[in-house]
Amino acid sequence: MRRKSVRSGVAVLLVALAGIAGCRAAPPTKRLIAIVTPAHDNPFFKAEAEAADAAARALGYETLVLSHDDDASRQDQLVDSALAKGAAAIILDNAGADASVAAVRKAKEAGVPSFLIDRELNATGIATAQIVSNNYQGASLGAQEFVRLLGERGTYVELVGRESDTNAAIRSKGYGDVLRKYPDLVAAARVSANWSQTEAFQKMETILQGSRKIDGVLAGNDTMALGASAALLAAGLPKVIVVGFDGSPDAIAAIRRGEIRATVLQPAAPIARSAIEQADLFLRTGSTGRPEKQSVDCLLVTPENADRFGIFALKREAAGTGR
């Protein structure tokens, strides 16, 4: 009986492993690029990971696509694994500007260059390149459109991202620097909804309990904009102007439906492709020919031009021609 139990345990485990049996690693003839991003359940990170993956394969690289789930300790372990597997370069959307320094330094010390995308590192000279979208420029763009839509007057709410995230602070500053110039624009509330759709929905409902005289909502990202928009629609206030940030496919669809009025698209896919191109150049020639810190401008998405945008890129870029 004992032997039988052990045998059944082995059988169950083998069944569990059958699913991965098809993934047998190919012989290491091609060079490997590891692509490490936050979880793919967010379309932004999925888009950048897939764009990088496709670009690397097109250039003849093997890829290892991993997710650190915004856990710096997990990220540290994934970098270990990528190095152990012999990665030639690492494309990284990191899990924290400070908490990721040690992992990137470890890769550099192992002779593996890192190309950071989307989020910066609070250190220079460790990563080979840091390619991020210009959040301040994007926020100014979004705020100017917001002001225009409101007719330069009214009461508005600002939903801020997670306070510990550098991008939340930069975007909020970009918004503030524009809005401050218009004395007839009055801030009713400025609250953090931690980038979360659910939290934005609930906070918006709470704010509406206090006052329904809200003309506009300026959100630090699209998921919060969508959450706020849902709360406004449920409260029977469809005319409130909502502007987001990121350019997610969901937000662009909402712009087409007229629920959100504008968003600022971060070109995640072109940035990811650019990182792969620079990694390829660096591996072949020893230099990217560019400065470490590179910033890429964001684009305004409105009902008029929404059809021109694909998944975190202009449509012709999404088709793979690049710039």
Binding site: M1, R2, S5, V6, S8, G9, V10, V12, L13, L14, V15, A16, L17, G19, I20, A21, C23, R24, A25, A39, H40, T63, L64, V65, L66, S67, D70, D71, A72, S73, D76, Q77, L78, D80, S81, A84, K85, G86, G96, A97, D98, A99, S100, V101, A102, A103, N122, R162, E163, S164
Partner: protein
Amino acid sequence: MSLLVRLRALVALAVLVVVFSYLTPAFLTQGNLVMLAKHVALNAILALGMTFVVLSGGIDLSVGSIAGLAGMTAGWLLHDGLVLRPLGVVVYFSAPAVIGIGLLVGLAVGALNGLLVVRARVAPFIATLGTLYVARGAALLISGGATFPNLVGRADLGNTGFTLLGTGTLLKLPAPIWMMAALGMAFAFVAGRTPFGRRVYAVGDNERAAALVGIRVARVKLAVYMMSGFCAALTGLIIAAQLQAAHPATGATFELSAIAAVVLGGTSLSGGRGSVGGTLVGAFVIGVLNDGLVLLGVSEFWQIVIKGVVIVAAVVVDQLASRPGTGAVPGRQR
């Protein structure tokens, strides 16, 4: 019974190692195995503390938050120092003192858990769920949500050396592996060879009976939660040392991996049955899955599914093995 359960976890581990070695040549190399053990150490240390809590019939959901709080405490003391405003001075502690204070924080939260369970008679699940939130909130409050960067310390302040806890090596093996091994041996000895260990099993097996034979149940319970808090704090300090930064979200959901390791190792969630050695094997099963699936390049979503399947499968086998009439007596002590 214990032998069979331990064998089962070992068989699972052996199967995984064989499968991964077959699928990827990078797996069974010395460098990879050392790395694997270093990764396992974090979850294993958490799970070792958790083992005693589970053996006593409880559960500790707060370990991940305690890890985060201890790391943030260390980051705060290393980075900002202790500001004594009325005196107008800033006190910087040496690295060993910072580690000691971090561990004390873990012991304190563990003691709070124990007191809630013993004195306030709150169910362990609820008591530690409460401290899960409180400790996480406290970790965020320390810095207002920000990360403490660059914890290498400053020579002029005399607080360098903290990062050795995570990155130091002895005989070419990283420090976390040594700590896992030392704690594993110590805890196995405590569980199997000391009166305290026997009392933990007795309390978990039948609390009333244990009390009737004169065991001071309250003391035993307080002690196991403090052990768990200590292990959790140590894990948090190691992570902060490895990353050379303390992030307030560190350790979120770690409690689930720790519980999974304990259960995989054959410790019964109803208490009184299980072993420290089994937990170590269970932690390695999870670690091998984590790293092996990454090496294979399996998609992250499949990784999650496979981990779940393995955990449930292991417990199913456990149930079959301990079904009455199979010769094994459920709930019996080792």
